[in-house]
Symmetry: D3
């Protein structure tokens, strides 16, 4: 989407993320669509409604033939033909935004942190969870949020690795920290998000995500897996669950208990730090040409865009998405 | 304790709930104790420390011989002999305060509500939980809180029955309510308290109660029991867990999700109503002779004592405790 | 309004609730109207401004001739003639939304609760207030709110009866409650709304409603009526006024005093419960076809729509409004 | 009380504000009293309980013979005889703290502001209220608070005059202000305190003060008086009542409506300013010798004591009270 | 702008404050502009984009030829020619809104307050700051805010004079106030705004205003000037800086310290009072014909428009702006 | 202090931190003292007031001869002689608690971080500040707080080094961070505490600390030093000052601006993390023998004491202080 040149013609497969019927002054209906791939979205007008297959609905993949125009400095499309994409030609999920990090590298970091845990109970639990292929596939593909930070495919793994990196370092800066508990909690603190968020065609909350939320879902997921192990000690499990339960830090941020152990306290601060710092960087990415962002963002204030933002190519998402 | 007459002598078994060593001006040590049975507590002085068995510690049952004196209008004791109660002569728990309601009657109401649930899944789950004798014994004996409302033995059952009574009535006042879900949620909303609170010698939080809390503990207890059933439907379970998760109503009151279903909303309001109204009545019970309580209470304001409070005998705890 | 079939022609009397002048690209003005009856509102375009009587203003009843069209799945009107409705042909109030409950039945319940009060002072006060024909007419017709819950004609009586029903039951569940005080307070707690809200053509706040609000207005109304009685005891009046003053429960919710008596406490919780539960049901009524509402509502979160919502015919407003 | 010299003997009439029975180590009871006049309070010990008339209770005036001793730098009394003061020898109220301002002068200022109101309706209302001798006597004697600011006899009048002084000046600084409405509201904004506070023997809340509060009580007092006038215009009354209702400024500070008129807005800010500035000055008065107060005060922070505080004699309360 | 008559033609110089490119249904682009002078703004359409110099950007002064039309009761422009204003023909700042007060008179009041300070240190500091011609020019021209109150040229001086007027009076109403400190603080409390706000073409925050804010900027400005004086006593400087630092009154309103001295406390209340009262009056100015404003304003509630608002000519901004 | 054995006699120099005069029942005065060295404090009774030099006041060093007794399990002293310590025998500061870390090592880490900054402006500023011997001496000796975390000598340096350590690591985990700005801000963020806190005899706020606070004091300190440099760029200074100004993160935590740059955001989270984690560890240090602390602490909740707390000898403060 970031490559559309006004005046050119395009043909390709996109995800239909919104569709509205409007009407010209003369009473003739037309469609206003939003089409997306993982590099972004574009507005698209279909003046002749007959050229769009009437079965197509939001969330479908569509094959589109269009002319690129421009409106208020942004490209948009005038479509002349819209048909359903051939079955199997692509998966909707491929059209969602994705981490710009190397997924295999992230998986390597994840494995590294898992293998660094020496306590046999914690190690066995991590193996039972991340060793489950179905879970692992979802975990490595899931976003970490619907909005705000890491709201793209791979975001959950990226955030988890970042939290584990920081906990690894910070856990060593202070005395009295149970390193294996801290690392296990870091790796598992957001596993409930694999059940809270759906990301088939768009990122949205599941029913159970709305009803229970990832804190509770993480507790039940980890709890079930621990109960299946021959002998995960009850007290150890409670310490781990406490870290998950309290990782939002305050009741009004969705944790029914505030951190009461040193490991839970560190995890909360690290989780918050990564969410806020990554959220900041994502926001300023969207304002590359101005010195300040506006205030409609997670922080509800204008943020200062780092000066070199438009120069550091390696921070850009890969050009083909 | 409510029967102590200044000037008389007593001999009996009590729970030692506090012990301090003090010193007269002459440097002679003496003990200041607090002794309790379920009707209340009394201060007790032991001037001759040798008359008290040195092995005795807080939480023990003691056999005491004392003279009743008076200080600022309240009775207190001057003990001349304190020894450990004979093993088996009583259980510490018998000395905790207890509901003044008839326990068997409450059990009957509880059974009535359980049996009123017709949906086979919910009925089976209730049977699996309340039919477990170990759980049932604890549930019917547990307090509902350490402080504030229903902070006495039997309080959990009393509160649960009251919530079920009100949900039964209110659920019928409005359309669209799933009555069986509402009643099941009412009966199970606080089952986590059987794991949150210890009440062997005093009412206090367990370690796991401090780390996880009864909301999370209720979720895992109900979740485990439902998983053990052959076929409790997942969506039905989520609806039920949502009621438990959200029954405190607001994030800052310890619910990680706020009520999003009509049953959860009703349950929250009914739970809050019973806690506040019963809390109010317990507070004014403690101020029978004044028109207003002080403001050191759950409501942080002076409460008006209903006028007939000192006359309605049937509201008093039974005289023998 | 719920019966408009695209393609058909209609002629009828409606309430004009909004009027905007717009302009075609060619500079020709046209009108965008909103028309309503108690089943809802519809957009209406008047392309030829000359066909609309220039004296007509918002709040008037109009006689309209129009063709039904459709826009984004919703019907709208293309008016060919708009004239003032003949004087006396209808009252604006008849075009406001109205309770779907049977008004006479509600009046019966109201009378039942009034007559259940045995204390002669309270009974006399209720008679003095509800026995005033002017007040009674307004009370039984008034909405309970401008937005949120019970925001329709008859809503105030419906809410009052619901609060009285619940207080009647709950007051018996607990000891020490002065039943007559509680019922009188339940019946009178919102009488100030008869002065706070105007509902001639739309539901809106009166000047005095904005300046004083229904809590204060209820206090002065009840206070004046009590002073007119030969001998309403001062202390009894203060207890009653306290219930009215504190029924919002918290200072930040508009009560200058929080509940300090058991009756005021129960009334507050019951009032809140009915407002929230009825508000919930009204919101999900508006989202019959989706499993979740959006979050632009009183609760500021998506609400789960009870599954059978589109099937229970008896919950629908009567078809003719 | 500020004149007690250790070592001397005294004999005089004081208000008994607290009485506790204590016990020597030998079991002999003695009394600990607090005695006060308007210059302060002093601790008093009665070693021989027989020397104190057993009928005497808190709130009584007592005639005392005692020796002045010293404890931790403060004087205290050893009483040898305590009997009830002769009936009529004094009024308890004379022993409460009192404004250091000249009461007659304050009454003059009050009259000046009342007479400055030219609008005949407002003038008539002020006359009806302040011209009532019973009300006038209470108003000019009442404190403005139990704690915090102006918590002494005459405080209500002193605060009212100060608010009127400031409103008089500030009302002229801005356009569009209805000066007569502002001055009338300034003079009447706290009249409800004459019903909220009792000050027979100590300053405390009345029952009705606890149940309704001075905002509501002010509304009903002014409302009744206005209704008694032949023709106080309704709209004018609502404007005035709005000022009273909203003078605390925010819902959480006890105003059920926030200021919506320019007069109500000015009144709120002026009332707040006088309460805070006078409260500050009273607090630093109590810390004359230190550069900072502690943080147990209305502001919950240490306050800086103005440097000349211990020198300005004219700020001191008159030596004889 | 307040003089535009539909149907007439105009030609003049205006500030371009907004420019959007839109497109007709036929795909032909046109411009939507906002043009302003200090009496307000007007919408302007440029149907033929070629008639507008392509170099022109937001913030420029433009020379415009247009026809006045009307839309929804408000005048708007159809421009036939837009070119850059001749260099030097005007300054952008002349097109910003401006205080309706007489600027020379305000300067006189400012000088009067400065000269009233007798303490030689404070007097010298005021002289060093206001005697700096560059500072003085900016101070007397600056707005006091971007939004809300005094958001127009001259607003900072107008607000400063108003605060000084009130402090002058109020400082005399209470004992123990250091009058010279209070007046100096009143005059300097907002000097940081000369660095926080830019007002070349529109009123907006500077980079340093966003990063530090006028509280900090005031501290550094006053601090630097005091250090340049031969001998401004350190303790005196801290007292003055404390007033600046704490003048917002509460931490959440942007003051890192709350008022701890009597002067700082008075200054905070006076500053708040003038901001709120002036803000109120500016809001109701914008709603001259309705009895109530809407609730999208600084107070987030509907405000009552004083009745004579449309009659008092002298309150209007001068007709030529 | 941690070495006092009941029954033994001691003689030594201590800091007198509190002194009260009390009275025996017989009217004989005695003194209650608190004495401290950096390992803690002990209560001390002086029965014969004549044995204590009457010139001695709180904050003095005293030479004491006493017998060690025990009260409620804690040692206390019965002093037989108290005289002023010989001048020069010790400094009061030596008796304050002190970091258990090696001060020279901390100085090395501090130097390492300072020397790691390569930007010449930032490097020059750090040199100008830390190269000032007077500042350096205070900075390396100062506590970081009066209460809560790092409230001991050397605490400011210890906290600063910890923040710099974490910023060094975390700054590399994210893109777009200006490393030199972040490290300079980390090193300077709390320099204002050298002016906010006094620690001659006890740790307490200075007058200027109370009036301005370390955020403002840090801004003026850094600002003055930067102005003294030949050419510290203004924009660079604002970025640095913004980090200092916003390092508390939220307005209600005392920062007048919230973080708006990536460096300020990281610094805030790191500062908060070190304060909370170190605060937690200090609290649990004080509860070595219990599994939970009480809830009277910075976190207002019971904290879980890490299990090995009583075994890790190297975490203990050095035995001789």
């Amino acid at each position: 989407m970031s490559k559309l040149t006004p005046g050119s013609a395009i043909e390709g497969i996109y995800l239909l993320s919104s569709k509205e019927t409007r009407q010209t002054k003369a009473g003739k209906p037309f469609f206003k669509l939003k089409l997306g791939d993982r590099t972004g979205t574009v507005d698209c007008t279909v003046w002749e409604t007959a050229t769009m297959d009437s079965q197509i609905k939001v969330g479908d993949l569509v094959c589109i033939t269009a002319r690129v125009t421009e409106y208020q400095g942004k490209p948009q499309l005038d479509a002349s033909k819209i048909s359903p994409a051939a079955p199997g030609s692509a998966k909707p999920r491929d059209f969602l935004p994705c981490t710009y990090r190397d997924t295999e590298e992230l998986k390597g970091f994840l494995r590294f942190h898992i293998e660094s845990v020496r306590d046999p109970d914690h190690a066995a639990l991590l193996q039972a969870i991340f060793g489950d292929p179905g879970f692992y596939e979802i975990f490595t593909m899931a976003p970490a949020a619907k909005l705000y930070h890491h709201a793209y495919l791979g975001g959950l793994m990226e955030h988890t690795v970042a939290v584990a990196d920081l906990c690894d370092f910070i856990g060593q800066q202070y005395g009295r920290v149970d390193r294996d508990l801290l690392m296990t909690a870091a790796l598992l603190h957001d596993v409930g998000k694999t059940r809270e968020l759906a990301f088939e065609t768009t990122i949205d909350f599941t029913d159970t995500g709305r009803l229970l939320g990832h804190v509770i879902q993480g507790v039940t997921l980890v709890s079930e897996k621990a109960k299946d192990l021959p002998s995960f000690p009850e007290a150890k499990l409670q310490q781990l669950l406490h870290c998950i339960v309290s990782h939002h830090g305050e009741l009004e941020w969705g944790s029914p208990k505030r951190p009461k152990t040193i490991e839970a306290l560190i995890l909360h601060h690290v989780d918050n730090l990564d969410a806020k710092v990554k959220g900041f960087l994502e926001i300023v990415e969207g304002s590359r040409d101005a010195p300040w962002t506006d205030l409609r963002n997670l922080f509800r204030r204008p943020l200062h865009v780092p000066r070199a933002a438009h120069q550091e190519e390696d921070f850009l998402p890969p050009s083909e998405g």
